[in-house]
């Protein structure tokens, strides 16, 4: 018997019939990974508040998800999410936004949310370029890549977001590409359940801007690139810097338990009120 609609349509608003992304964009794969994680955990969309910023990947929760979504100003979704979590600690907060939004313009919010270890899940979609504005060099752009703002190749070194967030003190840090949707789903599930700051960096393909700049071709060619160049962390540990050049290290970087801000705050409030 054939189905009349996709099973995840029940998590989407009725008036949204199509995703807002370009053909072959990785955002859709990540959207499905988020919804599949929520579905497999058996959680309700009303348990969540989704926060996003500005950029292509900020369109993942809004307007698609039939839930409370907050589409905020550029770079500030984590700042808004911090406020929501402290105000409504019983809710699951999921921030879905891009590298330009969370790591470039909003980089400081990312660092300090990780330092505070506030309970939220951040799905950071990293496509390595400013896609929506026309393909300018981003902090995550691979060194030497010719983009619209670096016609002779960018001289800047590439930002390693996972290493930075891990150093800032997050409880859970993981990286996958859109070639690993099953692993990404499992990691998002762990990140949602994790009491503390959890980052899932999702390396995604932008066939329109990045594919053209890097001369990688279409979506399928970029997925092939991810398949051939991603290397798991357990193998990468034994390799030197030269061998890892141009490789994408995937896997779980940090998975620890530590004191979380919202629950610590609740405990402090109780202690102070008792005195």
């Amino acid at each position: 018997m054939s189905v009349s609609a996709h099973p995840f349509r029940r998590y989407m608003r009725n008036h949204v019939t199509r995703t807002t992304t370009c053909p072959g964009c990785g955002n859709g794969i990540i959207t499905q990974a988020i919804l599949r994680a929520i579905d497999e955990l058996g959680l309700d969309m009303d348990d969540f508040i989704f926060v996003s910023g500005i950029g292509c990947s900020a369109w993942i929760p809004s307007p698609l998800f039939a839930a409370d979504t907050l589409h905020t100003t550029h770079g500030r979704p984590i700042a808004f999410a911090t406020g929501i979590k402290l105000c409504l600690p019983e809710k699951n907060i999921l921030v879905a936004s891009g590298d330009g939004d969370l790591a470039a313009i909003g980089g400081n919010h990312l660092i300090h949310a990780a330092r505070r270890n506030i309970d939220m899940t951040v799905v950071l979609v990293n496509n390595g370029i400013y896609g929506m504005t026309g393909g300018q060099t981003a902090p995550t752009t691979p060194r030497g890549l010719t983009t619209i703002t670096s016609p002779h190749g960018t001289l800047e070194h590439t930002f390693d977001i996972c290493a930075m967030v891990a150093a800032a003190g997050a409880s859970y840090v993981t990286r996958w590409t859109t070639y690993h949707p099953r692993q990404m789903t499992r990691s998002i599930k762990k990140a949602i359940v994790k009491k503390g700051f959890a980052l899932v960096e999702a390396i995604s393909q932008c066939p329109v801007q990045f594919g053209r700049a890097a001369k990688l071709g279409k979506a399928v060619d970029m997925l092939k690139h991810f398949k051939e160049n991603s290397i798991r962390i357990d193998k990468a540990r034994n390799l030197d810097e030269e061998a890892l050049k141009g490789k994408i290290v995937v896997g779980e970087f940090v998975d620890i338990e530590k004191a979380e801000l919202a629950s610590e705050w609740a405990r402090l409030k109780q202690e102070v009120m008792e005195v």
């Binding site: 054939s2 996709h6 964009c25 794969i29 997925l223």
Partner: protein, 84 residues
Amino acid sequence: MSKITIFRQACKGVEDCGICIFVCPKQVLIGSDEMNEVGYLPPQVKDESLCTGCQNCMISCPDFSIVVEKDASKPAAERGEEDG
């Protein structure tokens, strides 16, 4: 046999996307020349009997256009009887 359903109107075409064809290990899906209402060319099922029900295409579809229903609920012997 697993059942593949393609929602043609949600699909953004195999020309620029085509991820479903790429991730299928058994080459069950192929391109087609038939447009949907917004002008994209959705894939078509070449041979459904080859489908193993791995759901790679469903999980990797960025536009929620493919559903693969596994036939794992029934025991293998019963499936054989139904197929005749």
